[in-house]
């Protein structure tokens, strides 16, 4: 049985269903990330695992034990909050040791665990300070330290980096990954930042409006999205979508037509295609898979709008003849004049196809 198992979880607030029949498994030692837009229910789901939110229906199993109605105190789960939730009237040492002291853990054991956590998180010199005397990154470390010392079965992180600046965020991301490697404990992490999800996760759970859209490894989600939502959510800049029509269906391939394409494009399908000639489909192309020029087996003709230089790369914004906006991510600095015609080549192996409901074909 999975180490953490969420079985047909439902959560309602009055008439509003915020979690709708969700099934998720996490193996022992796995790093699972819940990702999705604001309001998709990911934090609510995490809070239900922690026991801070009541489950309307369904069951939560932790290490084979049903903990659906178990008090948070008895779940052997530690949680790191978005706001850090450090106790302002206690020193860093007292914050970290608080749970242990209340559990009547022997003094020497508390000191040993606090020292160990402080060493791992490099906060030995902060132990006598109060939270007000700490920077955002230091507060985050203390919050993690407070969770570590309990030796929990499961770590829960609720958007722990969202209050930090970009540089600190990437630094803490590395530290959390290192922490997971060192401790080997199961971690469930909530974020709306797909970069965090892609870099930290063993497996990602993509949520939308309280439903699971797809579960898989970062590579799975990037290379084989189940639907347009996942395809658009995973990857930065997001995938370009073009409305195309089916020209032909031939066994395991579908040929599509779009005015911006130089020629009809034949693509292999992942599933038995439920489309027929004349049906409307959506062609998905990632910005990083488009190259300016005539390279690539397939080509688009676009009209330039403007360019954004990001240093190592440039993002070119262009439009198809029918007014669909496309983004191209190209290496180096590149300028683009408004109205300039550009040719964009791509490998059909990197093209994605979705039916009119948004499901991958």
């Amino acid at each position: 049985m999975s180490f953490l198992k969420l079985e047909k979880i439902v959560k309602r607030f009055g008439d509003a269903t915020v979690i709708d029949n969700v099934d998720i498994d996490a193996e022992r030692g796995e790093f699972v990330v819940f990702v999705g837009p604001s309001g998709c229910g990911k934090s609510t789901l995490l809070r239900m695992v922690a026991g801070l939110e009541e489950v309307t229906a369904g069951d939560i199993y932790l290490d084979g034990v049903n903990v659906t109605y178990t008090e948070p105190a008895d779940r052997q789960v530690s949680m790191v909050f978005q706001s850090y939730a450090l106790f302002p009237h206690m020193s860093v040492r007292d914050n970290i040791s608080f749970g242990l002291r209340m559990a009547k853990t022997p003094r020497e054991e508390i000191d040993r665990r606090v020292a160990e956590a402080a060493r791992i998180l490099q906060i030995e010199n902060l132990l006598e300070r109060k939270p007000r005397q700490l920077s955002g990154g230091q507060r985050q470390r203390v919050a993690i330290g407070r969770a570590i010392v309990r030796n929990p079965k499961l770590f829960l992180f609720d958007e722990p980096l969202s209050n930090l600046d970009a540089e600190l965020r990437s630094q803490m991301r590395v530290e959390i990954a290192r922490l997971h490697r060192n401790l080997g404990v199961t971690m469930v992490y909530v974020t709306h930042d797909q970069v965090e999800a892609m870099t930290l996760a063993d497996r990602i759970v993509v949520l939308r409006a309280g439903k699971v859209e797809q579960i898989g490894s970062p590579a799975d989600l990037y290379e084989r999205p189940d639907n347009m939502f996942v395809a658009g959510f995973i990857g930065s800049p997001k995938m370009n979508f073009l409305k195309a029509s089916v020209a032909a269906v031939n066994g395991g391939t579908v040929t599509v037509r779009h005015p911006a394409l130089d020629a009809d494009l034949t693509l292999p399908t992942r599933h038995e295609p439920a489309v027929k000639p004349g049906d409307e489909v959506v062609l998905g192309l990632r910005p990083e898979h488009l190259a300016v020029g005539d390279g690539g087996a397939a080509r688009l003709t676009l009209r330039g709008e403007f360019a954004e230089s990001l240093g190592a790369t440039s993002q070119l914004y262009a439009q198809t003849g029918s007014g669909e906006t496309m983004i191209l991510q190209v290496p180096g600095r590149r300028s683009l004049a408004a109205g300039e015609e550009i040719r964009a080549g791509f490998d059909p192996a990197h093209a994605y196809l979705f039916d009119s409901t948004g499901r991958a074909i």
Binding site: L52, M79, L86
Partner: protein
């Protein structure tokens, strides 16, 4: 110098009633301090009842607070003091008459119940001002609910409540003058006694000065306590 003071202050009157005024200050301080502390103890369960999930508890606490905040303190003092006399037989039967026949105890009870209602609302506001994440963090650390509240929520709620509690204490000092109407010789009781015998309006000025001194002393002590108790919140 003595002549100048003598022309402003009636020194004979001061000599005659000065010690009585000091006794009055002691009575006022005792009444306010004891009722404020007892009211604080009563306010905590009332505040918790106001925040309870139980509709019955919430309604009872709300009714209590609504009555004591919605009616004049003077009416409450009269209700207890004169009402107790009406119920003498009942109180004697349960051995409470010795308590209720004494104006001091009637005043103490009324002030305690009154300030408890105000303090309950102050504590309720303080508890609600503590971010929910604080109690949740405590739960997530494996703490039982009561430990989370006692060790994490209440200390922070108290910090939020400090200033309004100070205001309530000052209001009580000033409101304590009401007890002079039920034969208690607090500052105002002594003032009324002195005026009824001397007809010198000056004694009311002395009373005003004494109340100002008391209030200012309490304000300064409270501010010092507040500074000390909120050190951990001040930015470095």
């Amino acid at each position: 110098m003595t002549e100048i003071i003598g022309s402003v202050i009636n020194l004979d009157l001061m000599a005659r009633y000065g010690p009585r005024f000091l006794d009055g200050v002691v009575v006022t301080l005792q009444l306010v301090a004891i009722s404020f502390l007892l009211g604080g103890l009563l306010a905590v369960p009332v505040a918790l009842a106001r925040l309870s999930k139980s509709g019955v508890l919430r309604a009872l606490a709300y009714g209590y607070v609504y009555f004591f905040r919605g009616t004049p303190l003077l009416a409450q003092v009269f209700l207890v003091y004169y009402g107790a006399g009406q119920l003498r037989g009942a109180f004697e039967a349960v051995g409470l008459w010795t308590f209720f026949r004494d104006a001091w105890f009637c005043a103490l009870l009324t002030f305690t119940l009154n300030t408890a209602a105000y303090q309950a609302e102050i504590f309720r506001g303080g508890i609600q001002a503590v971010p929910r994440g604080q109690s949740e963090a405590a739960f997530a650390l494996g703490l039982p609910r009561w430990v989370a509240y006692v060790k994490v929520v209440f200390p922070q709620a108290l910090v939020t409540a400090l200033r309004p509690l100070g205001n309530e204490l000052i209001l009580m000092i000033k409101a304590s003058a009401i007890v002079s109407l039920i034969t208690i010789y607090d500052v105002m009781g002594v003032t009324r006694l002195a005026f009824s015998r001397s007809f010198d309006f000056q004694v009311y000025l002395w009373a005003a000065a004494l109340y100002l001194i008391l209030v200012e002393a309490v304000r300064r002590l409270w501010a010092a306590a507040e500074r000390r108790l909120t050190r951990h919140l001040k930015p470095v």
